[in-house]
């Protein structure tokens, strides 16, 4: 609830005679009046609501006037009603006038209302600005926190990965290699969960950064990032086929997050009987850029399809991830202003169809 400012205007008053309403309202740009008859003589205390155009502005203001006959003169209590979309005047003002001053009432009221409206608008703007600054600060701090915490979590992991790397180079025993592989796999899994969380938090808090995307360059970076999934017989570069296209505008980091997740799923959930293949195609249209990512993996059963984009949803205990990957994909595409669909056939493969805007307003 806003605290209402009460402006009190008092004047010396020295006479008491009946007032004609139309005399009172002369010069007002009245839009609506709760009184039927504007020629009414105001005797005794009266209360009515009216809707009028404040000053020269187009803005409608609704106020209630309470006219109290004092002796001498009148006292008018102006009460602003809070009407959404209308000028903000939610305070109470008391005008005490001499009858001879009644012709000045519209001007006085306008001054009062306009002054108040702009003052309270300014206050509201200021408040908004402060809130915004505060939010930006919180965002910035949260950003620092996420990176700092993720760094601290990853530091020991990268140390262990380094030691495992040395162990692999220096210890040649067959059995030891297997243990090293399994340890490395576990650590990478944990590292990927941390990366997922960072990607999620980043997508939520950062603005789009639109630039021209060269699919070839982008895919080279995506492939480099997925090299950890390689094992004997699995080569990322050989598995991923990209249909080359002209450049299009998008947010590079976000697009990488999307492709990283989808392609790593294609590799992780490959069919045991064949080499994994992922086809990435891009069509640039007038309105949309359509990306299709199709694989020859194990496919997704119908009853999972509706839920795969849910947070923490995992199709089985054999799922290796955090259950965040496709959720992040969906959220990231939402932020890009696009949509994603999935088609899948068990044992045949899965295709994700992504539609992104073909142009963005900003930064181009």
């Amino acid at each position: 609830m806003n605290s209402a400012t009460v402006n009190i205007y008092r004047r010396k008053i020295n006479l008491g005679k009946p007032i004609m309403l139309n005399e009172l309202l002369a010069g007002w740009q009245i839009a609506e009046l709760s009184f039927a008859d504007s020629a009414q003589i105001l005797m005794g205390d009266q209360k009515f609501a009216l809707l009028f155009y404040a000053g020269s502005s187009e803005e409608l203001v609704r106020i209630s006037l309470e006219i109290h006959h004092a002796n001498p003169g009148i006292q008018i209590i102006v009460i602003g009603d809070q009407v959404p979309g209308m000028a903000i005047f939610h305070s109470k003002a008391i005008l005490a006038l001499q009858t001879s001053e009644i012709s000045q009432l519209p001007d006085l009221l306008n001054e009062l209302l306009n002054g108040h409206a702009s003052a309270s608008q300014q206050a509201a703007l200021l408040e908004l600005k402060e809130k915004n600054t505060e939010l930006e600060k919180i965002n910035f701090e949260l950003d620092r926190f996420v990176y700092s915490a993720s760094h601290d979590l990853r530091s020991p992991l990268t140390s262990v990965l380094g030691l495992l790397y040395l162990l692999r180079v220096e210890v040649k025993e067959e059995g030891a290699q297997r243990y090293v592989d399994l340890m490395e796999e576990s650590i990478l899994k944990l590292d990927n969960i941390i990366r997922d969380i960072v990607a999620y938090s980043r997508n939520n808090r950062t603005e789009l950064q639109i630039e021209k995307i060269q699919m070839k360059d982008l895919m080279a970076d995506v492939e480099a990032g997925l090299r950890y999934l390689e094992s004997p017989g699995i080569n990322i570069h050989d598995s991923v086929k990209v249909e080359h296209v002209s450049e299009f505008p998008s947010d590079r980091n976000r697009l990488m997050t999307v492709l990283n997740n989808l392609i790593s799923n294609s590799i992780k959930y490959r069919h045991p009987a064949r080499n994994p293949e992922v086809f990435v195609s891009v069509e640039t249209g007038e309105e949309f850029v359509t990306l299709k990512i199709r694989d020859n993996g194990i496919g997704i059963k119908d009853y999972h399809l509706g839920k795969i984009f849910d947070m923490f949803y995992r199709t089985s205990d054999h799922s290796t991830g955090s259950g965040l990957g496709l959720y992040i994909v969906k959220e990231t595409i939402k932020k890009l202003g696009g949509s994603i669909d999935v088609e899948s056939e068990v044992n045949q493969g899965t295709q994700f169809i992504i539609q992104l805007p073909a142009s963005y307003q900003e930064n181009l």
Binding site: Y147, S150, S155, S159, G162
Partner: protein, 130 residues
């Protein structure tokens, strides 16, 4: 990659110092490895090189997050060193940071030739632009 005479490692975590030293030895990147467990210590060493006119390390492998003086503080202090020294020394940043700001900030320094994610491996050393 060509091998260098001396490489300095600035890294506060002793396990990472060990890993980096071992990987550099195996890759035969340098004849001499100088580990510093703080940026300040390394900076003092470089200053003494400049004063005495002795050869500074050709390559510095620099961690970012360290107590007291971090990698960026080091880079700023490094900028103020004599021109001849700056041109001789190349810096590779090595970090487990996922922050794209860290990367762009590091690469904005002309002495920084690469930003590498931990852990250091032979393959990464082979790709050093030196």
């Amino acid at each position: 990659m060509k091998s260098v005479h001396t490489v300095a490692i600035i890294e506060d975590n002793p396990i990472d110092v060990f890993i980096n030293t071992r990987v550099i030895e195996q890759a035969e990147l340098a004849e001499e490895i100088l580990p510093f467990n703080s940026a300040r210590e390394a900076l003092n060493y470089l200053n003494s090189c400049a004063e005495l006119g002795s050869m500074p390390p050709e390559l510095i492998i620099l961690d970012i997050r360290m107590p007291d003086m971090d990698g960026f503080d080091f880079l700023e202090a490094f900028e103020t060193m004599p021109e001849t020294l700056k041109q001789y020394v190349k810096i590779v940043m090595l970090s487990s940071s996922l922050d794209p700001v860290d990367q762009s900030r590091a690469l904005s320094h002309s002495s920084v030739v690469a930003f590498i994610s931990k852990p250091l491996t032979r393959d990464k050393i082979l790709q050093f632009p030196i």
